[in-house]
C-alpha cells in the first residue's frame, strides 16, 4: 500500500473551486458577449480582444517580473478583460481598450497585492480611468449593426437630454446604442440565471440593487410621470443590468456578510439613481459601484453577524 495521506479535516471538498467559479462567470457572460458581437459585429470583437490582451499580457508580465507564480490559469485576468470590454463603447479606438486592460490589471489589481486584495473592481476602475483620460472617445456611441462608427446616443442620454424614449422591446433585446455588453438585458438576465443556478454568486446584491432602482424610479414616476422615466425603463436602459449582475457581485470588492450585501446593493441603487436623476451624467452605475466598493471594508466591519447564542440586540 502506498503511503497514507494525512491532513486536517474535512477530507472532502466541494467540487466548486476558483476555476469553476471563473468558468461560471465566463459562461454566464457568453450571452452578453454574443449579443454585443451580434449588434456591433467586428468592432465588438476587436474591442474584446484588445482589452483581453491588455489584461492577460499585463498580468503575465507583472507576475513574471515580480518573481511570482504565473496565475493566468486562474482566469481572473480573462474575466476582467472581458468585463472591461463589455462596458466600453464599440466605437472606442482599440489601443485605448488595450490600455484600459493594462490599467485594470496593473493599477486595479496587482498594486493592491493581486487577486483578492484589490479594493475596487478592476474593470470599472479602468473604465473610470479611460473616462477621465478620453472622455470623448468613451462617450461616442455607434449605432447597432453598422460597421462604421455612425454616432448615436444611448437610450438614457436620449431620454435625459432629448426626452426621446426608446421602445422597451429594443431595450430588452439590445437593438440600441451603448456599451458592448449592456445592449441586451435579456442576455444579461440569462447570465444571471446561470450564475444563481450554479451558485457562483449570491442573489442578495443583484436583487437589492435592481429592487432599489425599481422602487426609487417607481416612486418618482408616480410623483411626476412626465418628468421621470418609468421604473422599467431605468431597469433596462444603460449599464444597470450588467453592473448589478457582473460588476457589483464581484466577490473581491463586495461585502462578505449577508446583511452587508443588502446594504451594498441598496447603496449602489441609490447612488445610481441620484446620479441618473440629478447628476450631470446620463449614467451612474459605474460610479455607484466604485463608491460602494470603497465602503465595503466599513460595511464589513459594521455588519458582523450577531454572535451565536446571544440574543438580538445584545452586544457580544
Amino acid at each position: 500500500m502506498k503511503k497514507l495521506a494525512i491532513s486536517v479535516s474535512p477530507h472532502i471538498v466541494s467540487p466548486v473551486d476558483t476555476r469553476y467559479m471563473m468558468k461560471g462567470v465566463l459562461i454566464a457572460l457568453l450571452p452578453a458577449i454574443c449579443a454585443g458581437v451580434w449588434f456591433f459585429r467586428l468592432r465588438a470583437v476587436g474591442v474584446i480582444l484588445a482589452s483581453l490582451a491588455g489584461c492577460v499580457v499585463t498580468e503575465y508580465l507583472l507576475q513574471r517580473f515580480r518573481g511570482r507564480k504565473i496565475r493566468i490559469d486562474d482566469m481572473s485576468a480573462v474575466v476582467t478583460g472581458i468585463l472591461l470590454a463589455l462596458v466600453l463603447s464599440p466605437a472606442i479606438p482599440l489601443w485605448m481598450a488595450f490600455l484600459g486592460g493594462v490599467f485594470a490589471i496593473a493599477l486595479g489589481k496587482e498594486v493592491f497585492g493581486g487577486l483578492g486584495h484589490n479594493i475596487f473592481n478592476p474593470a470599472l476602475l479602468a473604465r473610470a480611468f479611460l473616462m477621465a483620460a478620453f472622455p470623448v472617445a468613451l462617450t461616442t456611441w455607434s449605432r447597432p449593426i453598422t460597421l462604421d462608427a455612425v454616432t448615436t446616443a444611448t437610450p438614457l442620454g436620449l431620454a435625459k437630454f432629448d426626452g426621446v424614449m426608446t421602445p422597451y422591446a429594443d431595450l430588452f433585446l439590445g437593438n440600441i446604442g451603448g456599451c458592448i455588453g449592456e445592449t441586451s438585458s435579456l442576455a444579461i438576465l440569462l447570465g444571471l440565471a446561470y450564475l444563481l443556478h450554479k451558485k457562483v454568486i449570491d442573489y442578495r446584491i443583484p436583487a437589492s440593487y435592481l429592487l432599489t432602482v425599481f422602487v426609487f424610479a417607481g416612486v418618482l414616476h408616480l410623483v411626476d410621470a412626465d418628468k421621470f422615466m418609468p421604473p422599467l425603463f431605468h431597469l433596462l436602459a444603460g449599464g444597470l443590468m450588467i453592473g448589478a449582475v457582473f460588476m457589483a457581485t464581484d466577490p473581491v470588492t463586495s461585502p462578505i456578510t449577508a446583511r452587508g450585501r443588502w446594504i451594498f446593493g441598496i447603496g449602489c441603487g441609490l447612488i445610481t439613481m441620484i446620479i441618473r436623476i440629478w447628476g450631470g451624467l446620463p449614467e451612474g452605475v459605474m460610479y455607484s459601484i466604485l463608491l460602494m466598493n470603497a465602503c465595503t471594508p466599513i460595511i464589513n466591519k459594521f455588519t458582523r453577524p450577531r454572535r451565536f447564542g446571544l440574543e438580538k440586540g445584545r452586544k457580544a
Binding site: 494525512i6 491532513s7 473551486d17 483578492g116 466577490p251 473581491v252 454572535r307 451565536f308
Partner: protein, 445 residues
C-alpha cells in the same frame, strides 16, 4: 411534515448508499485487542490489570477515581500481553492494554436478563451507566453518566435523541435505528426516568427514511405514555445537523449561548448509539465493549455496518473480515470525512466513539493545494455559528490576536463546513485551530 433545520451548513455528497442497505454484521472476534485506556474527554484511566493477567470478556481493565471519566473493559477473554503506548486515532500514542484472545473461549452471551428496570432509581441507572463505561458514541466521547447527572439547581426540559447522522458515508446510526428500534426506545425510557423531561424529541434526517418509519411505527404502537408522547421530527438533510447546538436550534429554534452547555438552557442531547448502550448496560448488564462501525469508501469490496469489538485494529479488521483493498486509498479516515481523523497507519484501534472507517481514493480525498482567498464569502454563508472564517484566517496569518479573539474564534465548532465549501481550498480549520491554541497559550480567553 415540515423538515426542521438550522441556518448555514453544507450539502456534501452523502455517499450513504454504499452501506445503508447493508445488514448489521457480527464481526469475528479480534485475535488481539489493543484497548486504549482513555477513550473519553476527561481524566485518563489507570490500568487495573497487569501483564500476564488472565482477563474475562467484560472485565474491568482500566479506571480512574475522577468524576469526569469512564472505565474501560476487556472486549475479549484472554491474556494481557503488554501494557504499552499504542496509536489512538485522534490523540496519537496513548497507554493501552494489549490482550491476546483465548481462542478456546466463545464470545459471552448477553441475553437479556431479568432486570426489573421499573424498580431502578435514577441514581441506580446512572450508576449502571457509569459502570458500563458509556461515553457519547456520536464522536465527542463525553462520559454519559456525567451528562445524566444534572447538577443541583438545573433542570432538563427537553431531551433530544440525535438520530441525525449528518456525516457523509456513515450509516451505523441508521442501521442501529432500524434494527434496534425497541432497544433504543427502552433506553430512552431509562434516560427519561433519570431526567424527567417535559418533552422528548427524536430528530432524524430525511435521507434515513427507514429509520424514521421504524420509530414512527414503534411510537404509534407504544402503550406507555413516555413513549407515545415522543415527538418524532424529520430533519432536512444538511451537515452539521447532528451537532448538538445545531440540533437544538433546528428543533427548538434556540441557540446555546457562547461558553454554555445545552443543559444551561434545559436541553440534553444523546446519540442513538449511546442510548442503545444505556439499554444494554441496564437491561443486559453489558459494558460498552462493542459498537456498530460503518466501513465504507471507494477502495474496498465489502462495505457495510459491522458490530466490532473495541480494541480491534483496522489492520486486523480488514484481514479477518475478508475486506479487500482493490485500490490504494489516499486516506484512511476514522470517523466521517467532515470531522474524522486521517490515519498514518492501519495499526489503530476501534474506540467506543469510532463511528466509521473510510478508505477513500485519491479521487475523493485528495487535498488540493491552497490558493489565494477570493473573498467570495462562501465560508461566511455556511458557518452554522455565524463566524467569519476568512477574517479569522487573515488575522491568524497576520498574528493579530486581539482581533482573532474579537472574531469569537472560540465559538468555532470545527465542523469544517467553511473549509469544505472554500473554492480556494484554504484549510480554514487549520488556521482557526491555530488561532484557538494561541489564544489559550496567551491566556487571552
Amino acid at each position: 411534515m415540515k423538515e426542521l433545520t438550522f441556518p448555514g451548513g453544507v450539502h456534501p455528497p452523502y455517499s450513504k448508499d454504499i452501506s445503508i442497505r447493508e445488514p448489521l454484521r457480527e464481526a469475528p472476534l479480534p485475535s488481539v485487542a489493543v484497548v486504549p485506556l482513555s477513550q473519553h474527554i476527561g481524566s485518563p484511566n489507570q490500568a487495573v490489570v497487569s501483564k500476564g493477567d488472565v482477563v474475562e470478556e467484560g472485565q474491568l481493565i482500566g479506571s480512574s477515581p475522577a468524576f469526569i471519566s469512564a472505565p474501560v473493559h476487556s472486549p475479549i477473554s484472554g491474556t494481557v500481553k503488554e501494557i504499552r503506548k499504542a496509536f489512538h486515532p485522534a490523540l496519537g500514542p496513548v497507554m493501552s492494554v494489549v490482550i491476546e484472545r483465548d481462542k478456546s473461549k466463545e464470545a459471552k452471551d448477553y441475553t437479556q436478563e431479568d432486570v426489573d428496570a421499573e424498580a431502578l432509581s435514577p441514581e441506580q441507572i446512572i450508576e449502571k451507566v457509569k459502570d458500563a463505561g458509556i461515553v457519547g458514541m456520536g464522536g465527542a466521547a463525553f462520559p454519559t453518566h456525567v451528562k445524566l447527572n444534572v447538577p443541583e439547581g438545573k433542570k432538563i426540559d427537553t431531551f433530544i435523541v440525535n438520530g441525525a447522522e449528518c456525516e457523509p458515508y456513515l450509516t451505523c446510526d441508521h442501521v442501529l435505528m432500524t434494527r434496534k428500534t425497541q432497544e433504543i426506545l427502552k433506553g430512552i425510557e431509562l434516560i427519561a426516568k433519570v431526567l424527567k423531561p417535559k418533552d422528548i424529541y427524536i430528530g432524524i434526517e430525511n435521507n434515513k427514511k427507514a429509520a424514521f418509519f421504524a420509530f414512527q411505527k414503534a411510537i404509534k404502537k407504544a402503550t406507555r405514555k413516555v413513549l407515545s408522547d415522543i415527538h418524532l421530527v424529520p430533519l432536512h438533510t444538511k451537515y452539521p445537523q447532528g451537532g448538538e447546538k445545531q440540533l437544538i436550534q433546528a428543533i427548538s429554534g434556540r441557540e446555546v449561548p457562547p461558553g454554555k452547555l445545552p443543559l444551561d438552557i434545559g436541553f440534553l442531547v444523546q446519540n442513538v448509539g449511546t442510548i442503545n448502550a444505556v439499554y444494554e448496560a441496564v437491561h443486559m448488564r453489558k459494558p460498552l465493549i462493542e459498537r456498530v462501525v460503518t466501513i465504507s469508501g471507494d477502495c474496498i469490496n465489502r462495505p457495510g455496518n459491522y458490530l466490532i469489538r473495541v480494541g480491534a485494529t483496522i489492520k486486523d479488521i480488514i484481514e479477518q473480515y475478508g475486506i479487500e483493498l482493490y485500490r490504494d486509498p489516499e486516506k484512511v479516515i476514522v470517523g466521517g470525512p467532515m470531522m474524522g481523523f486521517a490515519q498514518p497507519t492501519l495499526e489503530v484501534s476501534v474506540l467506543k466513539s469510532t463511528s466509521g472507517i473510510l478508505f477513500l481514493s485519491e479521487n475523493l480525498a485528495k487535498t488540493p493545494p491552497e490558493e489565494k482567498c477570493i473573498r467570495c464569502a462562501k465560508c461566511v454563508d455556511v458557518c452554522p455559528v455565524r463566524l467569519l472564517p476568512t477574517e479569522l484566517m487573515n488575522n491568524v496569518k497576520n498574528g493579530n490576536w486581539p482581533e482573532v479573539r474579537e472574531l469569537n474564534v472560540a465559538d468555532c465548532i470545527e465542523c469544517g463546513s467553511c473549509a469544505y465549501i472554500c473554492p480556494s481550498r484554504i484549510p480554514l480549520i487549520q488556521y482557526i485551530k491555530e488561532g484557538k491554541e494561541v489564544l489559550v497559550r496567551k491566556k487571552m480567553r
